[in-house]
C-alpha cells in the first residue's frame, strides 16, 4: 500500500508519496517492506500507488534491486486507471485492491500479505503466516505495544483477549483504550480477501481498516501477532525526524545494517563520501556522494549533499542532493531534497522541526 499522502507530514510530501520518503541516509521507506517481502521469499508483489508517484516510480524503475523480476511472479505497480467500468481514483485501501481484483483472482498463491509502505521494520512474514495457520485465523494483524508515553491517536488501537483474538479495534481513537497498535501489516487467505473485498465494493465501502477489520471483528477470527522488534511509522514530521535520528543509535544500526537479512535499495553509483580540510563531523550519518567541508553534529546527511566551508549543521536531516553554501547555520531542520541553500543563510527550528525548502539557482562548474 503505497498510495498515501497526508497532511501531517506537511511540505515533505508535496513532492512525493510518503512511502518514497528517504530514510536513514541511503534508503526509501518502501525499501523496508519490499526487502522484507524478498527476504521472506515472496516473489509476487503488487504496489498500489496514486499520490504523486514520480519519486516512487523512479525508485521502482527496476525490480532487480530487491531481487524480484523472476519468471514466476515479479513486481507489479498499480496506479488508478480509467476502464470501461470505472474512472475513479483509489477511494481507499480496499478500493485499491477492488479495482485490481483481477490480479488477485488470477494469482494462485493461497495467502496474501498486505503491508503499508511507510513503515520502517524488519519482519519475516513466514513467521506471521505460521502463526496465522496455527490460530486458524481469518485475518492476522501485526501489532506492537507502544511505550505508555507515546500518543497513539493516529494509529489503529487494538485490544486482544488472552488467546490474542482481537476484540476491539478502534481507528484513530480520540481517547485510546489500549496502547497496542496495528502496524498496518496483515496476512489473509487470498480467497477470503477476494470475498471480503467484493462484498465491500458492492456496499460502496472503500477502507480496509474501517470497513473490513472493524466491521468483521466479531464475525471473523481476527488475531493479533505482536512484534517486539523495532517498528516505526514515518507518517508525521516528528515521527519521520525521530525515525531517522534513531539510526544514530548503534543498536538500531546494527539491527538493520549488520544483521541478517539485509535491506536492499536502488543503487545510485555514487562515489565515496569525501571530507576536506576543515571538515568536522560528530555523531552523524553521512551517505555516499557527499562532500563535507564544514561542521556537522548529530545529523543525518543523505546522498550527494555538498556542505560548504564553515557551515554548522546540528540536529538536522539533509535530504538527497542538497547544496549548502559556505557559512550557513542549520539547526533542528529537515532540508528538502535538491535544495540549494545560499551561503550565509541561517535556519533554526525554534519550536520543533522546521522544514526548509529552498530552490535557488545552483551554479555548477
Amino acid at each position: 500500500m503505497a498510495g498515501g499522502n497526508n497532511r501531517r507530514i506537511k511540505e515533505l510530501t508535496q513532492k512525493r508519496a510518503v512511502c518514497a520518503m528517504p530514510i536513514a541516509g541511503s534508503y526509501r521507506s518502501i525499501d523496508f517492506a519490499l526487502s522484507n517481502m524478498s527476504n521472506s521469499h515472496i516473489n509476487k508483489v503488487a504496489v498500489f500507488t496514486q499520490y504523486n508517484a514520480g519519486s516512487l516510480n523512479e525508485h521502482l524503475s527496476s525490480s532487480k534491486w530487491w531481487d524480484f523480476g523472476r519468471k514466476q511472479g515479479g513486481l507489479f505497480v498499480f496506479t488508478p486507471a480509467v476502464t470501461a467500468e470505472s474512472s475513479v481514483w483509489y477511494r481507499g485501501t480496499a478500493d485499491a485492491i477492488a479495482q485490481n481484483l483481477a490480479f488477485l483472482k488470477n494469482s494462485h498463491e493461497p495467502y496474501v500479505v498486505i503491508s503499508s509502505g511507510d513503515c520502517v521494520y524488519k519482519l519475516d512474514y513466514n513467521k506471521v503466516l505460521e502463526y496465522h495457520i496455527e490460530k486458524k485465523a481469518d485475518i492476522t494483524v501485526v501489532c506492537k505495544d507502544m511505550a505508555p508515553d507515546v500518543n497513539v491517536d493516529r494509529f489503529g488501537t487494538i485490544k486482544m483477549n488472552e488467546e490474542c483474538r482481537i476484540e476491539e479495534f478502534e481507528e484513530k481513537p480520540v481517547v485510546a483504550k489500549s496502547n497496542t497498535i496495528s502496524c498496518g501489516i496483515y496476512v489473509v487467505r487470498r480467497r477470503q480477501l477476494i470475498e471480503m473485498i467484493e462484498k465491500c465494493a458492492e456496499e460502496d465501502r472503500y477502507d480496509f481498516v474501517k470497513d473490513i477489520l472493524i466491521r468483521y471483528k466479531s464475525m471473523k477470527r481476527i488475531y493479533g501477532y505482536k512484534i517486539k522488534e523495532y517498528w516505526s511509522n514515518i507518517a508525521s514530521v516528528d515521527d519521520y525526524y525521530k525515525t531517522n535520528m534513531d539510526f544514530l543509535n548503534p543498536e538500531i544500526r546494527n539491527y538493520f545494517f549488520r544483521q541478517y537479512p539485509d535491506i536492499y535499495s536502488k543503487v545510485d553509483d555514487l562515489p565515496p563520501a569525501k571530507y576536506n580540510m576543515g571538515a568536522s563531523v560528530r555523531n552523524s550519518l553521512i551517505s555516499s556522494g557527499c562532500i563535507v567541508n564544514g561542521k556537522v553534529e548529530d545529523s543525518v546527511i543523505f546522498k550527494k549533499t555538498f556542505i560548504g566551508s564553515n557551515c554548522y549543521i546540528k540536529n538536522s536531516i539533509i535530504l538527497n542532493d542538497v547544496y549548502i553554501g559556505d557559512n550557513t547555520h542549520i539547526e533542528n531542520c529537515i532540508v528538502e531534497s535538491r535544495g540549494t541553500i545560499r551561503a550565509n543563510s541561517y535556519h533554526k527550528g525554534e519550536n520543533g522541526i522546521e522544514i526548509v525548502v529552498e530552490h535557488n539557482d545552483r551554479y555548477v562548474i
Partner: protein
C-alpha cells in the same frame, strides 16, 4: 543477425606481481581502488560510457573475486540480451590445451567469441589502469585516418620514456617506428596498452602468428602488422591515466583522490564510474571521531581519527585509533588505540588493540625491495595482527599471526611475516 560495430576484449588475467601480497589471492584487476571501486571498474565503465556494450573479459590468474565482481554485469548495465559482459577463461580443447601464454595468445584462443558478434573493430584493453576515456572518439580517429591499427599513446616526461613502449610518429600521427623500453628514446609517446584493430587485420595477424610462443601484442602482433604495411596510427590521449602496477604508484593514485579538487574527479556527473556495491548503509562518524582530507565508503563506522586516507566500505575504526596516509580496504576492522601510518591494509583484516604500524626508521626490505618500498606497510587480506604489536616501515604481514610470531611484540622494518592459513 548479430552485428556489433565494435566489441572490447579486456585482458584481466595478469597477476601483477609487483603489488606483492595484494595480488597473492586476487588478480590485479580485482584489487580494490579508491575506497569502493576495483581497478577493473574503470575500463568496464569506460566501455559502457563509450557505447561499447559487448565486452569479453579474459581471466586466468585467481579469477574468483573477479568473476563474482563481474557477475552478469548488472552494475555496468552490461546485462544484455545480445552481447553484454562474458568472462572468458582458458579452456580445454580436443587437440591441445594451454593456458593463455601471452596477451595476443589469449585473444587468439577466443577468436570464436569475437567472430560470433560479427564485429568491424575490436578494442583491446588491459584491466590495470585508472583513467576515463571515450573509446568512441578513438574509433572515430581510427576511421578518419583509414587506420587498421590505432594505438592509444600518451606523452610522458622524456626521462621516464625508457620505461615504456615508445611510438615514433609523423605529423599525421601515423606510426613510422616503435621501440620497446629504449635506452635513448626518440619520442615521448608511450603506448597505453589500448588498441583498436580492424577485425580482418587482427584476425589475419593472429592466425598467421598462432604458433609463436607467448604471442604478445607489443612484441609480435604490432611489429607484424607494421611489417605487413598496415597503416598504424597513434591516438594521443591527454587526460588522467595512471598505471597502478607498483605499491607506490597504487598508493599515490589513491591519495590523489583526496585532493580538494582531484585531477581524477569521481564526483563529476559526466562519465560516472560504476561498481558492484554490496554495502548500502550510510557511514557513521561518532562523537569523538575526527576525519579530515579523506574519502570513506558506505557502511563504515569511524570512532577514531582519520587523516589523509582512503577508507573502504564496511570498515570499523575504533576509538583512540589514529590513521594517517593509509589505504584501508573493505570490511577491515581496526580496534581501539592503534596507530596506523602509511599502510595499505587489504580486505577483511583484523587489527587488535594497541597495534602500531609504520614505526621507526625506513629500512630496505630484506628480500623484495623492488616491491615493498617508500616506507609503506603492507597487510594482506584476511590477516590478523594481535594486540600490542609494533610493525616497522617497508614490512609485510600476511596471514593469521599471533603474539608468538613476533619478537618482543615487534616486527622490525623491512621484514616479511607471511603465514599460511586464513582468518576463521
Amino acid at each position: 543477425m548479430v552485428k556489433k560495430e565494435m566489441i572490447a576484449m579486456l585482458l584481466a588475467g595478469g597477476q601483477g606481481s609487483r603489488l606483492g601480497v595484494f595480488t597473492s589471492k586476487v588478480a590485479k584487476p580485482a584489487v580494490s581502488f579508491g575506497s569502493k571501486y576495483r581497478i577493473i571498474d574503470f575500463p568496464l565503465s569506460n566501455c559502457i560510457n563509450s557505447g561499447v556494450d559487448t565486452v569479453g573479459v579474459l581471466t586466468q590468474y585467481q579469477p574468483l573475486r573477479l568473476n563474482t565482481h563481474i557477475g552478469i554485469g548488472i552494475p555496468w548495465d552490461l546485462d544484455r540480451n545480445i552481447g553484454g559482459v562474458t568472462v572468458l577463461p582458458p579452456y580445454e580443447k580436443s587437440a591441445n590445451s594451454e593456458w593463455y601464454t601471452g596477451t595476443a595468445n589469449a585473444i587468439y584462443q577466443n577468436l570464436d567469441y569475437m567472430e560470433s558478434f560479427n564485429p568491424e573493430y575490436v578494442l583491446i584493453l588491459s584491466g590495470d589502469h585508472i583513467y576515463k576515456m571515450d573509446y568512441e572518439v578513438m574509433l572515430d580517429f581510427h576511421k578518419q585516418n583509414g587506420a587498421e591499427v590505432t594505438i592509444a599513446v600518451m606523452p610522458v616526461p622524456m626521462e621516464e620514456a625508457k620505461r615504456f613502449g615508445i611510438m615514433i610518429t609523423d605529423k599525421d600521427h601515423k606510426i613510422v617506428d616503435f621501440e620497446e623500453k629504449p635506452e635513448n628514446p626518440r619520442s615521448n609517446l608511450a603506448s597505453m596498452g589500448i588498441y583498436i584493430f580492424s577485425w580482418n587485420t587482427l584476425k589475419e595477424a593472429l592466425l598467421t602468428n598462432a604458433e609463436q610462443p607467448g604471442l604478445d601484442f607489443g612484441k609480435h602482433i604490432i611489429p607484424y602488422c607494421h611489417a605487413q604495411g598496415s597503416p598504424l596510427y597513434a591516438y594521443e590521449f591527454n587526460g588522467y591515466w595512471k598505471d597502478v602496477g607498483t605499491l607506490n604508484s597504487y598508493w599515490e593514485a589513491n591519495m590523489e583522490l583526496i585532493d580538494l579538487v582531484p585531477e581524477f574527479n569521481l564526483y563529476e556527473e559526466y562519465w560516472k564510474i560504476y561498481t558492484r556495491s554490496e554495502i548500502l548503509p550510510p557511514q557513521y562518524l561518532s562523537s569523538d571521531s575526527v576525519v579530515e582530507k579523506s574519502i570513506i565508503g558506505e557502511g563504515s563506522e569511524i570512532y577514531g581519527q582519520v587523516y589523509n586516507s582512503v577508507i573502504g566500505c564496511g570498515v570499523t575504526i575504533g576509538a583512540g585509533t589514529v590513521v594517517r596516509d593509509s589505504i584501508i580496504m573493505n570490511e577491515t576492522k581496526i580496534c581501539g588505540n592503534c596507530e596506523i601510518n602509511k599502510s595499505i591494509i587489504a580486505e577483511n583484516v583484523l587489527i587488535e588493540e594497541d597495534v602500531k604500524l609504520g614505526i621507526g626508521e625506513e629500512i630496505e626490505h630484506e628480500t623484495d625491495p623492488h616491491i615493498y618500498n617508500h616506507g609503506i606497510v603492507a597487510v594482506g587480506e584476511k590477516s590478523v595482527i594481535p594486540k600490542g604489536i609494533t610493525v616497522g616501515k617497508n614490512s609485510v604481514v600476511f596471514g593469521v599471526t599471533s603474539a608468538e610470531d613476533y619478537v618482543n611484540g615487534n616486527l622490525p622494518g623491512g621484514k616479511s611475516l607471511i603465514k599460511a592459513g586464513d582468518k576463521q
